[in-house]
Amino acid sequence: MSALVVEVLSRNFGGLRALSDVSLAVEPGERRLIIGPNGAGKTTLFNILSGALTASSGKVTLFDRDITQVPAYERAKMGLARTFQVTNLFPRLTVMENLLLALQAAEQSGFCLHRRMRDNRALFAQANALLEQWNLSAISAQPAKAISYGEQRQLDLILAMATQPKVLLLDEPTAGLSAAEVVRVVGMVRGLPKEITILMIEHDMDVAFDLAERITVLHQGCVLAEGDVETIRKHPQVTEIYLGAD
């Protein structure tokens, strides 16, 4: 059973075809990289996968369950998580509070109106453990908008992981980071549990080739090529679109 299957997916915006008949299948535990020039439809694909957008046609299956019509918040319960290309944290809440919300989502105890959040010691312990694991304890009391960009990207990833997903969508996790920070993030991604299936959009070719097991190349809304790292590296059309576009 594949972890994630996309069948003949299309998405139109008025007259614009953002995605045309895209199909792909990702196996459990696979590290799949989605690459392509700007405007290729990568983020649109992610938005449809996560439920932020609906497809104009086609089907999305998660562990053999058809999720095409399933709303975004239910997909999370089914084990799907994502990060965002543009920073999307809870800016005025502290790093700790950001984490608590993510952890609480998994517990599904959100409709509790009478207990005090701060009495939930177990939740705090979990959050503190995560912070220590990723060396972010020092900034736990800072509002998310006040921490550095690199730390924000890290937090983004941790929030996604907090829900213990089975399939993780990483949307350009290294965007805008310094070389040292890129190394750190690559380390983080590499260190993620092998059971998790990872789909990653990446612009940095080195990172992409480094982390990928298989690569899908999108161009102007269509799948241009798909294969392992060597195949894609040598693919004539792939180099062409990148030399042309970048």
Partner: protein, 323 residues
């Protein structure tokens, strides 16, 4: 370890002390004030409750409702009508009022909650104005523009009659304290944090797995219930209810109270409410142009202090290098 986390939870010990002091003050006030001013403080408590209820919606959940007076007025009319025409006791009329406010909010919420931002603002405003129109037009039920006079005060069969302002003051104080404690509790609960998350980033909340729409609906209804409580207390206080209770000016007043005090702090809107009530009382002795003054305060707050008094205090503290 969790000390770090607890420290970041709003300086609760400091706030608790503040609230306690406030309660002590409120308990002793009737002993020193004349009945007129006792009544004024009753009004301040009612509107503090009303403002805090809107803060739950606006400040914590980030839902800008411009029609919150709809629930205030709906409860007031329900309680007023039951007390006046059906002779209901307060034990029935009050909960009935709150229930009607909650029911109205479910209907309005179902209509408004699929939208956000300006659409939401506009729809909440339009819905509350429709209610106003009904209150205004349905003379046989609501008395139309003349309203319903001579609503009796609650009869608690105690030796003190509620018709005197002082016993009634303590009646209201009780509800005010209970209401405030409940709201503080709700805001500190997991639910309260979910609302904050929704305010900060709805998309993130959805992706994390929260059914945002449902949380918004619950917040909407809870806020309406507390607004309804305030409305019930107010109709008993005034012994009168009229379409003014649901007019957009009323919604505007309570919104200003929240913004002026500082949205998202509960204490701020309570203080803001008390300030506005005092101000209105003062200004109205000199001029009829209270609405103009209201508008001017709006403009000034929007331009100079959109985070309200609480926001000003916070930025002052930051300037002095505080936490």
């Amino acid at each position: 370890m969790s000390n770090l986390a607890v420290r970041r939870m709003p300086r609760s010990s400091g706030l608790a002390a503040l609230w306690s002091m406030g309660v002590i003050v409120l308990v002793t006030l009737p002993l020193v004030l004349s009945p007129y001013y006792v009544g004024l403080v009753v009004k301040m408590m009612v509107f503090a409750l009303f403002a805090m209820s809107l803060d739950l919606l606006l400040g914590y959940a980030g839902m800008p409702s411009l029609g919150h007076a709809a629930y205030f007025g709906m409860a007031a009319y329900t309680t007023g009508l039951l007390a006046l025409k059906a002779g209901s006791t307060v034990w029935f009329a009050l909960p009935a009022g709150i229930a009607m406010a909650a029911l109205t909010s479910i209907v309005f919420g179902l209509l408004a909650l699929r939208t956000r931002g300006s659409y939401f603002l506009m729809i909440t405003l339009a819905l509350s104005q429709v209610l106003w129109g009904i209150a205004f037009g349905w003379r046989s039920l609501t008395g139309g523009d003349d309203g319903l006079p001579e609503v009796p005060r609650p009869n608690l069969s105690l030796s003190w009659s509620m018709s005197d302002n002082t016993p009634f003051y303590y009646f209201v104080l009780l509800f005010f304290v209970v209401g405030t404690v409940l709201l503080v509790r709700i805001v500190a609960s997991p639910f309260g944090y979910v609302l904050r998350g929704i305010r900060e980033s709805e998309t993130r909340m959805l992706v994390l797995g929260y059914d945002v729409w449902r949380y918004k609906l619950v917040a909407f209804v809870v806020a309406a219930a507390f607004a309804g409580l305030a409305g019930c207390l107010y109709v008993y206080f005034n012994r009168f209810v009229s379409p003014d209770y649901v007019h957009v000016v009323r919604s505007a007043e309570v919104l200003l109270m929240v913004i002026l005090g500082g949205a998202g702090t509960l204490l701020g809107p309570a203080v803001g409410a008390m300030l506005i009530v005092l101000l209105e009382n003062l200004i109205s002795t000199y001029t009829e142009r209270w609405v103009t003054v209201l508008g001017i305060i709006y403009v000034l707050v929007a331009l100079l202090a959109p985070n309200g008094i609480a926001g000003l205090i916070a930025s002052l503290r930051k300037q002095r290098g505080g936490p």
